[in-house]
């Protein structure tokens, strides 16, 4: 069992927790993820490791309540335990001195971009960060990202913070002013990663994206998470989660994410009927 040691609401339906998982904490590297289960009947779902504290033996997980498992996690309290945490899984991010790196984060994907951004900064890169959200309250971890970035650009769909627009608009602003970018990362909703990869390609910037397909074991045993990259079938859990953004078959990624849409709805409705009002989340 893996005990929750702290919990904080960071946006509407978005939470941050620290969980006791010493083996994971002592082996984790930026870009990796864990597979968790809330209970004996729980589903195995992947979550990015947003941070880790080796001394305390804890990892930080940031999630948005979207399905049954994440809703259930959102209702858990400090002192409660997750049934399982397996990890760290996936290949770590390729950290080295690139020169100038552009880090693009959207939604809860910002939690995934943060540890990579920090480590790239420590490796001597100039870090420019673009954070995107529908509105100001959904731009999470802004201060932390800003602390480890040389420059931070925020874009919101409604203009309630930073520039009005989406992350690709931020990319274009940088291009226009002639900023030379050596490598980019984009992590967030699939559609955001897709369009930031297209824009990066137009601008000639190499870009990594971190895919979050449906997984079961997370160790290469089942192939649920397969994606087409270039001409090859790759398993996001062991060959990824980061891939060359130019090469990903995005429509397929999005189709595959919708595979269990109907069952996901049933599962969540049943859970809500059981626990009652969850609008406070």
């Amino acid at each position: 069992m893996f005990e929750i040691t702290s919990k904080e609401k960071i946006a509407a339906k978005e939470y941050e927790i620290w969980v006791k998982a010493p083996q994971v904490a002592s082996h984790a590297k930026p870009g990796q993820f864990v597979v968790i289960r809330t209970s004996h009947n729980g589903e195995r779902i992947p979550l990015t490791i947003a941070d880790f504290n080796v001394e305390k033996g804890e990892i930080r997980l940031i999630f948005q309540a979207v399905g049954k498992t994440t809703y259930e996690m959102a209702t858990m309290k400090v002192g409660d335990s997750l049934q399982d945490i397996a990890g760290p899984l996936g290949r770590p991010s390729e950290i080295k001195k690139y020169g100038t790196v552009l880090m693009i984060g959207g939604g809860v994907g910002i939690a995934a971009i943060l540890p990579i951004l920090k480590t790239l900064k420590d490796a001597g890169n100039k870090v420019i960060t673009i954070l995107g959200g529908r509105s100001a309250d959904l731009v999470i971890l802004k201060d932390e990202c800003e602390k480890h970035s040389d420059e931070l650009i925020v874009t919101t769909d409604d203009g309630s913070m930073g520039m009005k627009g989406v992350v690709t608009d931020g990319m274009k602003v940088l291009a226009k002013r002639g900023e030379k970018i050596d490598h980019a990362w984009s992590i967030g909703p699939t559609v955001m990663m897709k369009f930031s990869a297209y824009t990066a390609k137009d601008l000639g910037i190499p870009i990594f994206v971190s895919l979050n397909p449906i997984m079961v074991d997370g160790t290469g045993m089942c192939g649920a998470c397969r994606v087409t990259v270039g001409k090859n079938i790759r398993f996001a859990c062991v060959d990824g989660p980061e891939f060359d953004g130019y090469e990903v078959n995005w429509d397929e990624v999005m189709n595959r994410l919708r595979q269990y849409k109907d069952q996901e709805k049933i599962s969540l409705e049943n859970y809500m009927a059981k626990v009652g009002d969850l609008s406070w989340l």
Partner: protein
């Protein structure tokens, strides 16, 4: 000389009616009563040369346990079984007896006779023992001979762990999944091997003092060098572990599964109990399963139980080359699985939302024998045809999982990517590191993995002892 009269056929065993069982996940075979088991035990000739024993990968004293059963001394019978085999209730259910013990049985060689139902008797005795209030736990040597790390809680690892614990070693198993059992938990369905039986066997192994650390991925959450520091020897029994795909166009359409994923969702994650269990699985109406091994039988019969209207197995070779256990094949036919021999998928076709709608197949014919000695299937030009389907499960085998291997680059591999290990000891290219089961042989059977675990346990004992003497 008295003439011994032996009935020609095995004592019939009760099974769930095919029409009923095709809609539930309960065990198909219901087992013998004591009287039936004794009747079957009486068919054993107790022959001197014991060909059955030589046919068993763990060399169980088969005539011995059957004789005790004949004499209605079930305690002794169970004791004999357990002294050779740590998982008898599992083996009685899933071993390919027809090519092992029963395949060599003297009675089976007599004209018009079926062999003694050794598997069913093994099952009976171990189930009887489990139903007793107290289970005999063998005496465990109290001296602590050393510490052994086992990677993977499947048949190979569990067997090596149990044998080493009995010898007096401190044993810790590192298991990547949240439950121990390996393929017995995620691969073989409930209707063939109830999970309560697997758990019972695992509890027995834990009672020997074996510690099992789940959610523990060697190479990720713990490194090989950490293991080397903390343990005297390491046994790798991770299984083959990565599904192969045909790689035909359309493989990533929604509705195309590897058998590993489909069966893991059902068996380990209990998707057949959705929504009581959180993990879903697609409920295909017209299902096509590719392959004709035991895994294909399990996948097709599972799809039927989830409510499929029809399930077709397509196999590129013919019935004769089919690798499945004969009992599973018969059960599949009884339940209404259709078999399409000499048929191979060449493309999956989907709609504009990425959902599978059909599979394009080609007819095959058998040509000259290939490396496996089986006649090689060759496509018949112009014989393409289409099957409407909303779900395909590919059960065409596995390759080696690289999670551990990539974290252990000094370990020598075979040209096929499996671990190079001595077949008699499991010794790998690295001192103190042993390996056995599918990660050495490629996908094989539960009992062969158990046999490898047994041999390695002996070799590990010798290795650790010699190391301690040298010190």
């Amino acid at each position: 000389m008295a003439v011994i009269k032996i009935s020609n056929n095995k004592t019939p065993i009760k099974e769930q009616d095919p029409k009923v069982r095709a809609h539930n996940f309960k065990e198909v075979v219901l087992g013998y009563s004591l009287e039936e088991a004794v009747a079957e035990a009486n068919r054993c000739l107790q022959c001197v040369n014991q060909p059955c024993v030589a046919g068993c990968p763990v060399n169980i004293d088969i005539p011995g346990f059957i004789l005790a059963l004949k004499n209605r001394d079930l305690t002794k019978s169970a004791e004999i079984l357990k002294s050779y085999n740590n998982l008898p209730a599992v083996c009685g259910r899933v071993c390919p007896q027809e090519s092992q013990c029963e395949g060599r049985c003297t009675v089976g060689k007599m004209k018009g006779h079926e062999p003694v139902a050794i598997g069913k008797l093994e099952r009976f005795v171990s189930d009887w023992e489990a139903s007793q209030e107290t289970i005999n736990i063998p005496e465990i040597s109290s001296k602590k001979l050393g510490k052994v790390a086992i990677i993977g809680a499947g048949p190979a690892g569990l067997t090596a762990a149990a044998d080493l614990a009995k010898m007096g070693y401190e044993v810790k198993i590192f298991e990547a999944l949240h439950a121990a059992g390996g393929v017995l938990m995620y691969g073989i369905p409930e209707f063939r091997l109830p999970k309560s039986i697997v758990e019972r066997e695992i509890n027995f192994i834990k009672s020997l003092g074996v510690e099992i650390d789940t959610d523990s991925i060697v190479g990720r959450s713990i490194t090989i060098s950490e293991l080397k520091n903390d343990f005297d020897a390491i046994f790798i029994g991770t299984g083959a572990g990565t599904p192969s795909f045909m790689n035909v166009p359309g493989t990533n359409l929604n509705g195309v599964y590897s058998a590993s994923e489909f069966l893991t969702r059902i068996n380990l994650m209990h998707a057949y109990e959705f929504p009581e269990s959180d993990t879903p699985v697609r409920l295909g109406k017209h299902v096509v399963v590719v392959g004709a091994g035991n895994v294909a039988m399990d996948a097709s019969r599972s799809a039927l139980r989830l409510g499929a209207e029809n399930v077709k197995i397509v196999y590129r070779r013919s019935e004769e080359e089919m690798p499945a256990r004969i009992e599973e094949y018969h059960h599949a036919i009884e339940e209404g699985i259709e078999f399409h021999w000499l048929t191979n998928p060449i493309e999956y076709i989907g709609d504009d939302k990425g959902n599978l709608t059909a599979v394009k197949c080609i007819k095959m014919e058998l040509g000259a024998p290939d490396a496996s000695g089986r006649r090689r299937p060759v496509p018949i030009q112009g014989s393409e045809f289409t099957i409407e389907t909303d779900m395909v499960v590919e059960a065409i085998g596995q390759t080696s999982n690289k999670v551990l291997l990539s974290a252990f680059p000094e370990l020598k591999l075979t040209p096929h990517g499996y671990i190079e290990a001595d077949p008699e000891t499991g010794q790998t290219s690295i001192k103190g590191v042993f390996a056995g089961g599918d990660i050495v042989t490629g996908a094989a059977t539960v009992i062969l993995a158990m046999g490898a675990g047994k041999k390695s346990a002996i070799a590990i004992d010798e290795y650790v002892k010699s190391k301690k003497v040298a010190r």
